[in-house]
Symmetry: C2
Subunit: 329 residues, 2 copies
């Protein structure tokens, strides 16, 4: 199939950029040094490529992601890097499942759900989940007293990963990881799990990095000047051209995560308005009705979550179409 | 089932508010005066309630919405209020399908796809699709010469519908509709289709109003002081509580359309951060791990599009669970 035959809006994955990103990351963080995060692409077919590149342990954000990875035969070592209050679906899986805990309630949830292994989620500065570092040891002790195996700690420096200033990113990452190592000293275990695409080569303290976006990329991460290439695009069709210099493509709010703002046009120009099913653009080169435009999402994760399929393309050839099979909860 | 048993994040539709909104709109714009827009809720079960309230003609934004409505037996009069460049899926449907055209290319698409009826989409001031009013008559003539029946005109005053200042909203709506009526004089036909929730009682020029959000509502439309009640909520579970005054619920970017900014908390308080699967909040009343929170989306349409199901609730009772069956394209 040719890209021109795809119905739009369509999610595209550039094969060459994908290969480059997989290889670059596998060279920097080989094998178990990377625990790829499924939340970015939600696609087991892509996870299988990451496994083939040497990374066989994965990070998940939702129960559904863990379930889907187990069903796809990728359940060798799945970390649900998030708190849940009902682990019954996880306890039933034929996979190695480790769950994050940050409170006595989440420890009890793990026990009740038949989970055997946990990590202690530590707050390293991001106002989100995680127990204060000085309390991590006590929670690990509680977990062990309830029969759980504690594999170590995790702590996400999410307030650092997106900072364009590399020196500042390094500084905040170092502060965060000092807190995580403090917690690890009290908790023990083999895992110090942390990091993201923005700190993949900065965070030298963690035993494994939970990066996900590196494989797709977006305009927010592009500002960080990382060695990864833009692999993810939304393809739209120009459905209307105005005499006033703008045109309209058929990919809107329901095809694009908007929390990081408007997307960019791959071929240059400006995005004026994003409506439910319309993108009003001022392209750099004139376009006509029926032309295709490639749009670069501002945030890859919530963009992918809108799409049922992602098409792997090489120039104008569609090599493969993968189901985005880990959507929902 | 009880709301407390729902897995989160979950999309809730408050039954009482829904009934109020359906009844209020049906009283203001009875029967064919309203052509409910499917893009807001993408749910045929809810469309059936709108049909039961007297509105049997519907507006759609995508081919998939038209297809799904036809399959659900709601195809008496479906208007695809958008341009498409491949109408072959539409031409095959066992339903009355009318398609918007704004260019010779879209007229040819309709002919090629086996479409019999069109409306001329007119630009009434919003920088999006639509032909200039002074050219609408020529396009109608072209369409008729190609064997199409031209049912009239449509023109969306999308630059007016969201303005909180009612006087300004009225003024821009009046200007827009003057352009649409100018086009209609040249085009002819029984339809002058326009409007949205924000102009449902202001736009007295259109023969039918394409409102959709009224049935759900969101924080953006709430600012307009319309007589419709908030019916749509995202339900989250508190998974972590910090000693620093904030808590974290499990409904994030992938459960909420973010183009209108952060959502509100139904019970009061503040939303600090929206991450992929986390909502960091400062609730008005203290919460504990396991508590549920109801979140009011900033924009209903792209929020609904993330969810597979919507649960109709009355207090703590789940009355029904409807599939959001018109998602995708």
């Amino acid at each position: 199939m040719r890209v021109g035959e795809l119905q739009t809006p369509a999610l595209l994955l550039d094969s060459e950029a994908l290969q480059h990103n997989l290889a670059t990351m596998a060279a920097a963080l080989p094998g178990p040094r990377l625990r790829p995060h499924m939340k970015a692409h939600k696609t087991t077919a892509l996870a299988a490529r990451q496994a083939a590149a040497g990374h066989r342990a994965f990070t998940c954000a939702t129960i559904r992601e863990v379930e889907g990875m187990a069903a796809a035969g990728l359940g060798e070592d799945l970390l649900l890097a998030n708190e849940v209050l009902d682990a019954s679906r996880l306890g039933r899986l034929d996979a190695r499942v480790t769950v994050a805990v940050d409170s006595p309630e989440t420890v009890e949830t793990a026990v009740r759900g038949g989970i055997k292994e946990v990590v202690v989620d530590v707050n390293v500065g991001l106002p989100r989940c995680g127990i204060p570092p000085e309390k991590a040891g006590d929670l690990a002790e509680l977990a062990r007293s309830r029969g759980l195996s504690v594999r170590g700690v995790m702590g996400y420096e999410g307030h650092a990963v997106g900072l364009p200033d590399r020196a500042l990113r390094q500084e905040i990452c170092a502060e965060s990881m000092a807190l995580l190592l403090q917690a690890h000293a009290a908790v023990g275990g083999e895992l110090v799990s942390a990091g993201g695409t923005g700190t993949y080569d900065i965070n030298t303290w963690a035993s494994e990095i939970q990066a996900g976006s590196y494989v797709l990329m977006d305009t927010a991460y592009a500002r960080l000047e990382l060695p990864f290439r833009q692999a993810l695009f939304v393809l739209g069709t120009v459905i209307s051209v105005s005499e006033n210099g703008y045109a309209v493509a058929d990919c809107g709010l329901k095809a694009l995560g908007m929390d990081h703002g408007k997307p960019d046009l791959a071929e240059g120009g400006m995005v004026l308005i994003v409506s439910d099913e319309h993108l009003t653009i001022v392209p750099e080169q004139p376009v006509k009705v029926g032309d295709r435009v490639r749009v670069v999402p501002a945030h890859c994760d919530p963009t992918v979550a809108y799409h049922q399929r992602v098409h792997v393309v090489d120039g104008e050839d569609v090599l493969d179409s993968w189901e985005v099979d880990l959507r929902g909860w």
